[in-house]
């Protein structure tokens, strides 16, 4: 027993103590680097959209459902055109400053949402030269009302282009 203990003691003496200082240097540097990056990192988000897909048509024996809203928001050169289920609401013109009236669009869509509370889908169409920035701003105006309630978050990019 004593011999075994002595052997262990000898082994410990031979191994010595691991020098952890270089490891600590590396770890400290990496931590500082990661913290510095996290300070300059910008918060990213995403906006979900989809395109129409082909699917099997429903059979005639299905129970007739409520007529879909088919809401379509079009960003034209003069302003927004909102249409749905065969009806076209008077267009929302641009502001006198020449900018699109996103607030008026949100208010209009909130009114439509009250009539169709279960509807979440909307088609989106735009002028060919409309910059991406305005596309995103329109999608923002379509997604959420002033009170934070969801309006039409499921946006489908329409196949056609103005």
């Amino acid at each position: 027993m004593r011999r075994l203990k002595e052997a262990n003691d000898d082994a410990e003496e031979e191994m010595g103590e691991i020098n952890l200082v270089p490891y600590m240097d590396i770890v400290t540097n990496i931590i500082i680097f990661l913290l510095a990056i996290s300070l300059t990192q910008v918060p990213l988000g995403n906006v979900n959209v989809s395109v129409p897909t082909l699917g099997a048509g429903s059979s005639a024996s299905d129970t007739p459902e409520k007529e879909p809203l088919n809401l379509t928001v079009t960003v034209a050169g003069s302003g927004f055109i909102v249409a749905g289920s065969g009806a076209v609401i008077p267009p929302i013109p641009k502001l006198p400053s020449g900018q699109y009236d996103f607030d008026a669009l949100t208010v209009k869509l909130a009114e439509i949402k009250k009539e169709f509370p279960s509807e979440t889908k909307a088609n989106f169409n735009a002028d060919a030269f409309l910059p991406y920035e305005l596309v995103i701003q329109t999608l923002d105006a379509m997604r959420e009302g002033k009170d934070g309630k969801l309006l039409f978050p499921d946006v489908i990019f329409a196949a056609g282009i103005l």
């Binding site: 952890l20 200082v21 490891y23 600590m24 770890v27 400290t28 990496i30 931590i31 990661l34 913290l35 990056i37 996290s38 990192q41 910008v42 918060p43 990213l44 988000g45 995403n46 906006v47 979900n48 959209v49 989809s50 395109v51 897909t53 960003v75 735009a126 002028d127 060919a128 030269f129 409309l130 910059p131 991406y132 920035e133 596309v135 995103i136 701003q137 999608l139 923002d140 997604r143 959420e144 990019f157 196949a159 282009i161």
Partner: protein, 184 residues
């Protein structure tokens, strides 16, 4: 010969001197135990690396690619990356189709200038989607058909729809448009 407990004069002096030295010198730490500190730092390092790996790829903005701000609250999710800069379309970081003045070269389109089908984008994404499908099959997951689209804020809608149409032809129908979250 001195009995135990009795000091000789010399031994007494030595004992007093050593006691005085002990009083004069403050205790110094000869060997700092850094193991707990190392444990802590390793945990912080793992946490930081984990939080970085869970976020999407870092995006470098420059004059050809500036992201647009949005009010969205959705967090980005990892998906196949498609980047539209002012000069080129990239798929997973690989340049696929050059852009000149907001338009893709008509020679790269199957149906000419007014066409939507951009052949190199469809070809590249078909390869990527085949790979993704195989991975999904092997891992027992569902193929989500999702693309993470990073586009410059000045990209015209026509160009965007041409590219998204081509993506749709390769089997991708759901898009996550990456934006800058507005700080509130």
């Amino acid at each position: 010969m001195s009995r135990p407990g009795n000091f000789t004069r010399l031994q007494g002096k030595k004992a007093i001197r050593s006691f005085a030295r002990k009083l004069a010198e403050p205790e110094t730490i000869k060997d700092l135990n850094i193991t707990p500190m190392m444990d802590m730092m390793t945990i912080i390092l793992v946490f930081l690396l984990k939080s970085f790996s869970s976020t999407t790829n870092l995006i470098t903005q420059d004059q050809n690619l500036s992201l647009t701000p949005s009010q969205t609250r959705l967090a980005p999710k990892q998906a196949v990356g498609l980047t539209i800069t002012k000069r080129v379309v990239l798929i997973e970081g690989e340049p696929v189709a050059p852009i000149n003045n907001g338009k893709i070269d008509p020679a790269l389109k199957r149906d000419g200038e007014n066409g939507y089908y951009v052949t190199p984008i469809v070809d590249m994404l078909t390869r990527v989607s085949n790979r993704e499908r195989k991975v999904a099959e092997m891992t027992g997951n569902k193929f989500e058909a999702e693309l993470m689209v990073v586009a410059d804020r000045h990209t015209p809608y026509r160009l965007l729809t041409e590219i998204l149409y081509s993506c749709g032809q390769a089997g991708y129908s759901n898009y996550r448009l990456l934006v800058l979250k507005n700080r509130e």
